[in-house]
């Protein structure tokens, strides 16, 4: 809501307000065909219709009055609300590690403008300390707000800045880096950082929240405490995502940045490691490793930053009867690389063969990943697979489609004019994005309702 506009009101409501000489923040008595209403005129959300005037009543409730029911409005006062998050000085303790927190625009901590409902992000150390005082027990915190974009608007431009800034923070000697991020594309950014920031000597922990911190049941505080703990005290020096393990308030999980994926639109426990085990469980004061092979914290500051990204890459989700012109369109638009999320073991239909052939001839690199998300691409089993490989499509083992997309864009950025080197880089694991083996418990999508799962759910906190 732009503060200097007409606060979201348009005609016909705006002219009613003008007629009676009132603006937002006026305290009014409105006479309407449905009776009298007394309250404070609030700004209106710009996405809402133009028909209603919003009043905040004395009881705290908001109500809307339709413009054509309003017979008269009497102004009885004016009370403009200004909002600021209280800042409390973040206590510095020389004995505690110091963590750099980057903000990207997702609101890890926020509070609500109680009158309009707008969310004000809390970000400075003082603001964060005001909302989550436990942070002072974890580490010293320094914060930099890099961008103010929603998760879905994070892209190459932001990846590059984030990688460079992370590298700089590491070289400056911080004991860990935490990145606050919207959850929707957190796994894309985690993959990008995994490739762009190599051999980090300290933990790089991405964190967000599924429930904003203006809600009493928010996961934000616990996520933030766990993430800063992992960054400040953890031994795992990789790019990770730190989010709720179960939906209950029990522990967080640290996921490797190239194997993690958001799997539910709204659950707290939405982030899962796919085809492998998460790195560790974490809560304030305690990290319990699950995987044994991880890069450990070092005292040196030798980090390799390769912040490159070629935007001419696409991710195509195959469906039966997909027509060749879908691929043709990408070739014509000058795309240099395509990741296909294929069916089963890595298949597409014959209709696409001519397009794949044209792509190969045009020098467009095509790689195969899986819609099943779990499992390995195996194109030798069926004839279809062998045919597709003959058309130049390269299988990418168990790399997740989104990770493959990010990696290809990065690899093309690393070797702009060397398709062979790109192919070689794609086929070699760089940051755990492909594994040699899938543990038997790397795939666990429990089926509700069956007796053994019912028994299990009766015993644990979900």
């Amino acid at each position: 809501m732009a503060p200097n506009s007409d606060n979201g009101y348009r005609d016909p409501c705006l002219s009613v307000m003008e007629r009676f000489g009132i603006t937002v923040w006026c305290e009014v008595i409105a006479r309407t065909t449905r009776g009298d209403f007394e309250g404070l005129v609030l700004p209106r959300s710009e996405t809402a219709d133009a028909e209603h005037l919003v009043l905040k009543l004395g009881t705290g409730y908001n109500v809307g009055l339709r413009h054509d029911t309003i017979l008269g409005i009497e102004k009885i006062g004016y009370r403009e609300a200004k909002y600021k998050i209280p800042e409390k000085e973040f206590p510095i303790d020389d004995k505690k590690p110091t963590v750099k927190l980057f903000g990207t625009g997702g609101t890890i901590a926020s509070r609500l403008d109680y009158r309009t409902g707008a969310v004000i992000p809390a970000f400075s150390p003082g603001e964060l300390y005001g909302s989550v005082p436990e942070l002072a027990d974890v580490c010293n915190l320094e914060t930099v707000k890099l961008f103010g974009v929603f998760s879905e608007n994070m892209g190459p431009e932001q990846y590059l800045v984030l990688a460079e800034e992370t590298g700089a923070a590491i070289r400056e000697g911080y004991d860990g880096v935490v990145i606050g991020h919207g959850t929707d594309t957190m796994h894309h950014t985690a993959a990008a950082l995994s490739f762009m920031v190599q051999r980090p000597p300290v933990p790089i922990v991405m964190v967000g929240s599924q429930r904003s911190s203006d809600r009493p049941s928010s996961d934000a505080a616990r996520n933030l405490i766990s993430a800063t703990w992992a960054a400040a005290h953890g031994e795992i020096a990789e790019t990770m995502v730190c989010m709720f393990g179960p939906t209950s308030d029990r522990y967080n999980l640290l996921h490797r940045g190239t194997r993690v994926r958001k799997m539910h639109s709204s659950y707290r426990s939405t982030f899962r490691t796919l085809g492998d085990l998460p790195l560790a469980m974490v809560e304030q004061g305690k990290i319990t490793p699950i995987k044994k092979d991880f890069a450990t914290r070092r005292s040196d500051r030798d980090v390799e930053i390769n912040a490159v990204f070629d935007e001419k890459v696409s991710l195509v989700y195959y469906y039966p009867n997909m027509q060749a012109n879908v691929i043709d369109g990408l070739i014509d638009a000058g795309y240099k690389g395509i990741i296909i999320a294929g069916t089963g073991l890595g298949h597409v239909n014959r209709l696409l063969y001519p397009a794949l052939e044209r792509a190969r001839d045009a020098g467009v690199l095509i790689f195969m990943t899986l819609q099943t998300l779990w499992g390995f691409v195996q194109m030798y089993v069926y004839e279809t697979g062998r045919e597709i490989m003959e058309l130049g499509v390269v299988p990418l083992a168990n790399m997740l489609p989104e990770v493959a997309y990010v990696k290809l864009a990065w690899a093309l950025g690393m070797h702009p004019d060397d398709p062979r080197a790109v192919g070689e880089l794609m086929s070699r694991p760089v940051a755990g994005e492909m594994t040699e083996r899938e543990p038997h418990d790397g795939y666990l999508v429990f089926q509700g309702g069956v007796p053994e799962i019912k028994g299990f759910l009766g015993r644990v906190w979900k």
Partner: protein, 649 residues
């Protein structure tokens, strides 16, 4: 107590009536509404954190709940909850049926309807709602209904402040120590909250007001009935006191005693305030530094674990064995105050203990003793020793409590906070109603800052078409119905009862045309329907067409008064038998006289055996033989005359 006494006390009470609506699904998700289960499939553990208010402060109530550091466990049953209720999925569209029922109730209460519904979040940190807030929307404001209670001499208007549409909360299973467990089946069911102005000035008026509201909402026939379907919160204050909210009273009958006791609790607290004022007690003498363990921070408290290690009072012995901390604190100039009575059988000490129980979550019983009852717990020398250690005089009260160090610290702090509030008089609280009419502390009354807009739901314009649709078929308010029934010839009380009954519409549809017939029908419905529901499992009212022939037969003199009820019963129970067939048996017919002759002859044989007995006895016996067989068909007077003739002859 007379109304005048309550007037002198400045007694004022208002109601917040929560009424569940009869909808298929819950308010913000498509789970079934009204299904209660005792089993569960899974559990979820959550905690609540207070969020900052717009002034950057924490709401007192929210902070109190945070102090309790509760683990909140939710029991989930697949058939009654989805991921919405446990706050893992955003709300779905608001249930339109619930909104329409809400509009209907608003219209009945003559409330001003809003044109656009804004869903708000009202914070509750007690865990009763997993999100930490209740979604609620204001639907109507400022109305009034006739408030006529002849037995109380009340004849005025009852002002209604507002009606909001809300989701119901969880059902509490247990609350022990630092863990509270809730069932989630009821969570999210739609209900209306109707708030009155504090217009009820005696406890009896409050009960009557609650009944009037309940009756009016029920005329819609779209609200739930039965245990827990309607629950009221009562706001009570007396002059000089403060608004106290008593939560979740589900019986009207208990209301007068409840608020009477609350009025006197407030009076007791005001007397304590005056006494403390007279003694010159200042708030500052009861304050503690905000951090650290109370007994390390102030002269008001000491740790008495070591000095009481030989104490032989069993609860303290037990605490010592558990390795708990014993803390003694003094309340300067409070001697004698702790035994001041606040409720029947309850003293001021329990005001302190209640807060400790709720906020520090100490589970042992008892967990504290005090010096106003010196003979209990500690012996004389132990009290003297504590008094010396605390540098307390005879004018001071001493409290000894025990628990884990954290809990004992919270307890000490809460007692001092409550003692400070005693200087003001009545703290603004939410209290829990007990069955016996007494109340206990539940939480601090939340402030207005706990309400903020729900960013997950768009505003919902209420179309004029909805309002027209609802008002077109608005049920007649009970008072208007009652007037109509009275005009028909029903006594005022019977008319009122009928007007608020569930069979009023059946009565209307049968349509009795004159006084005596209408009275008989009204009485029969009132008497037989609850009976048949109870005894014969009658689960719904019959179609009017089933009863109409009975009514018209009666009005035309074809069925007699004596047969009406029996015919009525059979029409309702024997659903597969034709109406005409049932009524035939009760119709006054030509063959009746003949049948009577036969019966008389047969009875005479039996009566002979009673020869020598008083005539009246023989007559009574004979009537008993004959009447059941002729019930409803012949006038008993006639039968009696004929019998008398026969016996005499």
């Amino acid at each position: 107590m007379t109304p005048a006494d309550y007037r002198e006390l400045g007694f004022m009470a208002g109601l917040e009536v929560h009424q569940q609506l009869r909808t298929k699904s819950k308010l913000f998700c498509r789970c079934p509404a009204g299904r209660y289960v005792d089993h569960f499939d899974a559990e979820v553990l959550r905690h609540m954190r207070p969020t900052l208010s717009e002034l950057g402060e924490y709401d007192g109530c929210a902070l109190m709940e945070f102090k309790t550091k509760k683990e909140i466990v939710y029991l989930l049953e697949r058939g009654t909850v989805c991921t919405y209720e446990i706050d893992d999925t955003p709300p779905f569209e608001i249930d339109a049926t619930a909104v329409k029922i809400g509009i209907e109730i608003c219209s009945l209460f003559k409330l001003n309807l809003v044109s656009e519904l804004h869903v708000m979040r009202k914070q509750y940190l007690d865990g009763s709602i997993p999100t930490g807030f209740q979604r609620t929307a204001m639907l109507g404001l400022t109305g009034e209904i006739p408030f006529v209670v002849p037995s109380l001499g009340v004849d005025r208007e009852l002002r209604i402040r507002q009606l909001s549409l809300e989701e119901d909360s969880c059902r509490e299973v247990s609350d022990f120590g630092h863990r509270i467990v809730f069932r989630t089946d009821r969570l999210g069911m739609p209900l209306t909250e109707i708030v009155t102005e504090p217009d009820m000035v005696t406890p009896e008026e409050l009960e009557a007001g609650a009944r009037v509201i309940a009756q009016l909402t029920r005329t819609t026939n779209k609200v739930r009935r039965g245990a827990g379907a309607a629950r009221q919160d009562v706001n009570v204050s007396i002059a000089g006191g403060r608004r106290v909210e008593i939560k979740g009273v589900d019986r009207h009958r208990g209301l007068p005693r409840l608020v009477h006791i609350e009025g006197f609790r407030q009076l007791g607290l005001l007397r304590i305030r005056d006494e403390l004022d007279r003694r010159g007690v200042e708030k500052e003498t009861l304050e503690l530094p905000s951090n650290g363990l109370a007994w390390n921070m102030s002269d008001l408290a000491i740790e008495a674990t070591a000095s009481l290690r030989r104490c032989d009072f069993a609860p303290i012995r037990h605490a010592l064995e558990q390795g708990e901390v014993i803390c003694a604190l003094k309340l300067p100039a409070f001697a004698g105050i702790l035994t001041h009575r606040t409720q029947p059988g309850i003293t001021f000490a329990s005001e302190l203990a209640d807060r400790v129980r709720v906020i520090a979550c100490i589970t042992s019983r008892p967990f504290m003793i005090h010096s106003d009852i010196e003979g209990y717990g500690l012996n004389h020398s132990e009290w003297r020793q504590l008094r010396a250690a605390l540098r307390a005089t005879e004018d001071d009260a001493i409290i000894v409590l025990w628990g884990s160090a954290t809990d004992a610290n919270t307890a000490t702090r809460e007692i001092l906070i409550r003692a400070q509030q005693a200087l003001v008089g009545v703290p603004a609280e939410t209290r829990q109603a007990h069955r016996d009419g007494r109340t206990g502390f539940e939480r601090i009354l939340p402030g207005a800052d706990r309400m903020y807009p729900d960013t997950d739901t768009p505003p919902l314009p209420i179309p004029d078409s909805w309002v027209r649709e609802v008002t077109a078929r608005l049920p007649e308010p009970p008072w208007e119905r009652a007037e109509r029934y009275a005009a028909l010839g029903l006594e005022p009380l019977l008319a009122t009862r009928l007007a608020t009954s569930t069979w009023a519409s059946l009565f209307e549809a049968i349509g009795p045309t004159e006084g005596a017939a209408a009275r008989l029908l009204a009485f029969t419905l009132e008497k037989r329907i609850p009976y048949l529901r109870r005894k014969s499992g009658l689960d719904r009212l019959p179609e009017p067409a089933r009863l109409k022939p009975l009514q018209s037969a009666f009005e035309q003199g074809e069925i007699r008064r004596e047969g009406f009820e029996a015919a009525f019963d059979r029409l309702l129970i024997e659903a597969d038998r034709e109406t005409g067939q049932i009524l035939e048996k009760y119709r006054v017919g030509l063959s009746d006289a003949q049948e009577l002759d036969q019966l008389l002859a047969w009875t005479t044989i039996g009566a002979r055996r009673m020869e020598g007995e008083p005539q009246e006895k023989i007559l009574r016996w004979s009537m008993g033989q004959v009447m059941p067989k002729l019930l409803g068909r012949l006038d008993p007077k006639l039968v009696r005359e004929r019998l008398l003739e026969t016996i005499e002859s």
